[in-house]
Symmetry: C2
Subunit: 410 residues, 2 copies
């Protein structure tokens, strides 16, 4: 077998960038069922939004220059000549010296260029007293000011958040071409691993909890997870089960068996699935060193460490990045990391990236990250945590009060 | 009709705390389908996790004192007397001077109190050279060290993230009692509003985009949304449609019609649904002043402003808080807000809370929030944004470089 050199976190990210492709599978979805999908085609506006000049307030459509010089002490006077109703084309034309009532969202009558808010004027039996001067265009959204006909509204790779759906709806677009939901297979291995439903454990047995944690994290990224069960440490059985699951999915996750030991078949199983095979075998990271990343004939394969806490941290760091690359997400939107100040000194070894579970506490308008004490194998340290602090490999630790990046729970 | 005084943001939060109850509806869900549900009962551990003393590394189980004095230059010597297999009860007992191989996760053989990692020793034909001294308990997780029998693992009101599901699975718990998924009704009103599927708009018409944006935000909180359609500005039709939808759901959202104007039936419709009725009518906030919050016979009713951007901001601020209170979420986990530095001075009026759309840019390990220029009615300002900066009501604006709280997109 090939010899693999342990990679740094940065090298691993670069290799993910290089090796992981965008899924070729696209589908058309109706807008109501497209939340959090990724656009597979750009969207070009076929019309202006809004399609007409609209008032943004309740008020009177006027010619701005007719209000010049108006003030509380020296009001101007205009003649009210009509009213615009919502959803209707105004009959009235605003001639010099005239004003027409227009509600919020109503269409601007021709001849007018601005709207004086009802708070700044007074209707005295058809005579409008104006108490403020306004500028041309004030309180008006022009046709096309939000979205211009012909403009590329959204590019390929954009994740559809609620506001993107809203923008699409404003154009009357009902269907979008998106990348199909990813299907990810998850398979546990290890002679000691039993289904989590096992009521009474035999001595030495461990329930399969990574299935729940890793599936949960993947589902948070709109991924469909297929559970392949648990295989014992038998190369041929493992290979066969892995291949079966691999054939059904877009990406395969194997948990356990990735540390160097007598029963470590994971690497061989992964190599058997396709080319080019393993591109990362071991990362200089704590926890989670025995991580395997591979590409097998167009599908990513991820070998996670068996420890629940390590598996979760590795998945959040590298698994999520692989899935997002694969699902075609290009436009980064929300902050991937937040920044907080660490509450105590933490030493670390240079050349290795450390990830520390923390609780976040707000003090005087800042987040402080309080390390959680406990061995890395304990699932409860993650239950108590709000996120993970990253100590990058070039650092020899972090000092109390220092700003550090935190990968927050979702 | 009652006269309502405009509330501050802080008063509104306090009133939500006071008026909104926790839903009484519970259900039992299998763990695989409980992600992001809220626990309706505490979970007490019925056993220890782990159920036995385990090694956290690949190495040799020893008596720690047998390694005392060992170093690279002065190794200690122990006799290897056996091997622990994964998932099996060890046959061997570790007598003084002896060592037994144990893999990561393997059960500790009796007589041993610690594990020396394989990296720190060497097997020379059955004689183990130890190059490091270790402490009692080193590289061992004790039975019950993660979760203790009888301990309350999770309390009522805890949101089930992937790690909570993992902790439950580690106890062999397969089903949990959670608060039932909330059902929220959404109804648009306004003579100018037409279904978003409308291909060609008549002059003055607007597509119903709040339906997509508000439903999307609610779905991000694991809420089922029932769309009630669009009603014209006719009190009796509006009241009837609202009542029909109200009867089917746990919470009702009405959009549009909440500004003070001739066609403002929303307040009357809400008051007709039940008691105690409206508790907030108008908030000193920009954008989004004409917001209505009510409790009608045990169900919250939210009247959102019609402007898409205002409606989204108001929903993120108050709607989400109402839903989370209603769905029983008590244990706050992730940071609700991040902190960023503002890239320019922004004035604001004291006594009113302002919410500014921003793009987040990372500079030298800090987030900077860059205000997005554009009128508040434009949906594209939200498409361009990563979050919303809050300028609280006691401030007269914020200065360049100041740290400000940001409500980030999800």
């Amino acid at each position: 077998m090939q010899f693999f050199k342990v990679k740094t976190v940065e090298e691993t990210f670069a290799l993910i960038e290089e090796y992981i492709p965008v899924t070729p599978h696209k589908e058309v979805r109706v807008l109501e069922e497209a939340l959090h999908y990724i656009l597979a085609e750009p969207v070009v506006a076929k019309e202006n939004v809004p399609s007409f000049d609209r008032s943004t307030v309740d008020g009177y459509a006027v010619k701005a220059k007719d209000t010049y010089g108006s003030s509380e002490s020296m009001p101007g006077f205009l003649t009210i000549t009509g009213e615009v109703k919502m959803g209707e084309v105004p009959h009235s034309v605003v001639a010099p010296g005239n004003a027409v009532y227009v509600p919020t969202g109503g269409m601007m009558p021709s001849g007018s260029d601005s709207v004086i808010m009802i708070e700044h004027c007074e209707d005295l039996d058809g005579l409008l007293n104006t108490y403020k001067q306004i500028a041309p265009g004030e309180n008006v959204i022009r046709a096309g000011e939000d979205i211009k006909e012909g403009e590329t509204l959204l590019t390929t790779g954009t994740k559809l958040r609620p506001q993107e759906l809203g923008a699409l709806a404003s154009l009357g677009i009902t269907h979008v071409t998106v990348f199909r939901q990813l299907k990810v297979g998850y398979l546990s291995s290890g002679d000691e691993i039993v289904p989590y439903q096992t009521e009474t454990l035999q001595e030495g047995q461990i329930r399969d909890i990574n299935h729940l944690t890793i599936s949960g994290l993947a589902r948070e990224w709109n991924v469909d997870v297929v559970y392949g069960g648990i295989v014992r440490d038998d190369f041929e059985v493992f290979r066969q089960k892995a291949k079966e699951l691999y054939d059904q999915v877009d990406c395969l996750i194997l948990s356990g068996g990735s540390s160097v030991g007598a029963k470590d078949y994971t690497t061989e199983v992964i190599q058997s699935l396709g080319n080019p095979g393993v591109f990362v075998h071991g990362i200089s990271i704590k926890p989670g060193k025995p991580t395997i990343l591979a590409m097998a004939d167009g599908k990513p394969v991820i070998g996670l460490p068996g420890h629940p806490a390590s598996a979760m941290i590795i998945f959040r760091l590298f698994g999520e990045r692989i899935l997002r690359k694969l699902m075609g997400e290009k436009v980064e939107r929300k902050p991937e990391r937040i920044f907080a100040r660490i509450t105590k000194n933490i030493p670390s070894s240079p050349g290795r990236s450390d990830y520390i579970r923390v609780r976040l506490v707000e003090k005087e308008g800042e987040w402080w990250a309080e390390p959680i004490i406990g061995k890395s194998g304990l699932i409860t340290t993650l239950v108590k945590s709000d996120g993970i602090v990253e100590i990058s490999s070039e650092k020899e630790g972090i000092s109390q009060g220092e700003y550090v990046p935190v990968i927050a729970s979702r």
